[in-house]
Symmetry: C2
Subunit: 295 residues, 2 copies
């Protein structure tokens, strides 16, 4: 009992403060090592979360070495003269008008013809997509082109199952009025019918020769820009597609297509000629004045 001297409470108090500090530092380390997930739905499907966590995207905003997308990266590449095509003002105006008219005829189409499309055309549209700029010239994209009927069908099953879950979970929702109408949304026949499915993967990071990870800055923005070029190239060739982002299916589709863990699905495009009876919603685009501000 001699140990319980009048000074003991002070020692205990100091000990407690030390424990509290240790506790705090452990927590900090813990929270720094994983991204915040404040959506309760995520907890329910951890394997989906795993794939959707894009640490590279998040950290890229802080660690970017250069805001300019220096083509050539960190290497000391020689600089060479560059003299691009240049047109007189009238021709320039005419070209810009023609290009706008071309792209303005593009629409997202879900009614795709099963007719075959020359593979050389698909090669060229992907080459065109691959000319996109990318952060530090990492070219962080992989285009998986699926023509095999069995693989297309497996993709359809994966996508439709996920879609059906989405729709069924919302049955009580105010959005949902008509089961028949919904059905047309989750059944994606074009995934079987289109001669090609192009699945675009972003490489969230690269692998260095020493096995370490190499950050791919702005990989999602880079790959999305490449997809923009791809959409333009497809339309220019007289082909149609519909932009879809089945991100919840990403892990299963990645496994099916045997892509490595650093690749994440960004987009899935069914590609072919438009079906003869194709229709599109009668929508309008915003006029120029609604999207531009001159200063």
């Amino acid at each position: 009992m001699a140990l319980i001297s009048p000074l003991t409470p002070i020692f205990v108090a100091v000990l407690c403060v030390v424990i509290a500090l240790v506790f705090r530092s452990l927590q900090n380390r813990d929270s720094a090592s994983r991204p915040v997930s404040n959506n309760p739905q995520r907890e329910a499907r951890p394997w989906v979360d795993e794939d959707l966590q894009d640490d590279t995207e998040i950290s890229s905003k802080d660690n970017e070495d250069d805001d300019e997308w220096v083509e050539g990266g960190e290497e000391d590449l020689a600089h060479v003269p560059y003299t691009p095509m240049r047109y007189p003002p009238e021709e320039m105006l005419e070209r810009s008008q023609h290009f706008y008219s071309l792209l303005n005829q593009r629409r997202s189409v879900r009614f795709i013809s099963p007719e075959p499309v020359p593979r050389a055309v698909i090669d060229n549209v992907i080459r065109a997509a691959g000319t996109a700029p990318s952060g530090a010239h990492t070219e962080p994209w992989t285009f998986v082109v699926v023509a095999d009927a069995e693989t297309k069908h497996k993709i359809r099953l994966i996508v439709e199952e996920e879609e059906e879950i989405n729709y069924r979970q919302r049955m009580g929702d105010k959005w949902v009025k008509d089961l028949e109408r919904l059905r047309t949304n989750w059944v994606k026949e074009y995934l079987d019918v289109a001669p090609y499915l192009i699945l675009i993967f972003k490489q969230a990071y690269g692998i260095l020769p020493n096995g370490k990870k190499k950050t791919h800055y702005y990989n999602e923005i880079s790959v999305s820009i490449a997809c923009g070029l791809l959409l333009a190239a497809l339309h220019n060739a007289g082909l149609v597609t519909v932009t879809s982002t089945p991100l919840n299916c990403g892990p299963m589709l990645r496994a099916l297509l045997r892509r490595p863990a650093n690749e994440k699905l960004l987009m899935l495009l069914p590609v072919g000629y438009a079906a003869a009876d194709a229709t599109v919603p009668d929508l309008k685009r915003k006029p120029l004045d609604d999207i531009v501000v001159y200063i």
Copy 2:
């Protein structure tokens, strides 16, 4: 002294445990309300963090109502027949080859001529960008075109200050070898020289008539696709640019250009003719086999 009884140490210990638990719960609440920031730089400039938090982007991956980008959104739009241009196989192949050749000549150029460019051409390239698909047809983009010399100079000062901070903070880093070489990286003369700066903002959310926020699903991907079309349209017109993503300057540039809080800077493109003595790094693009997988 009667207060310091043999039992006091136990009370003090219990009190400390309670304090530790309170401490912990406060920390949890704190860390749940803001995204993880493991970069000490962030702490120093909290106003930057505020703007970089893109909750919409993160939550959109879970709440997406439809993976297909239904053009026409939730409204019950009439469907109309759609018969896009269709070309015989040889012409299709020729068009796809030509489009690839065109885009393959595009390079990021930092040496921009001060010569004026017809504004009607800028109108057309932005119209072309505005034909991009977007999640639920929200068209979540604003293109701010700056031709005013004073505003361009203010933008330059903001961007260069941020860049200089980035570079100076890395002076001790193994990356940094040559101050002169760095200087050419953070001084961005083209921001004064280029006849136009196009700042592309993504609308992270919309505002409904009742004042509530409307989620813009996949707004960053949508706007990046639009930027891809913009890059193609600029190149097609004989103009050059360099893709830059000065995200840390986003809040200051947004304030300078008086854009609303729902708009976040995604990209800044200086636009003009290439300077007569323009050079580019002598880089190569990946061959087709490195970016495509056929199944």
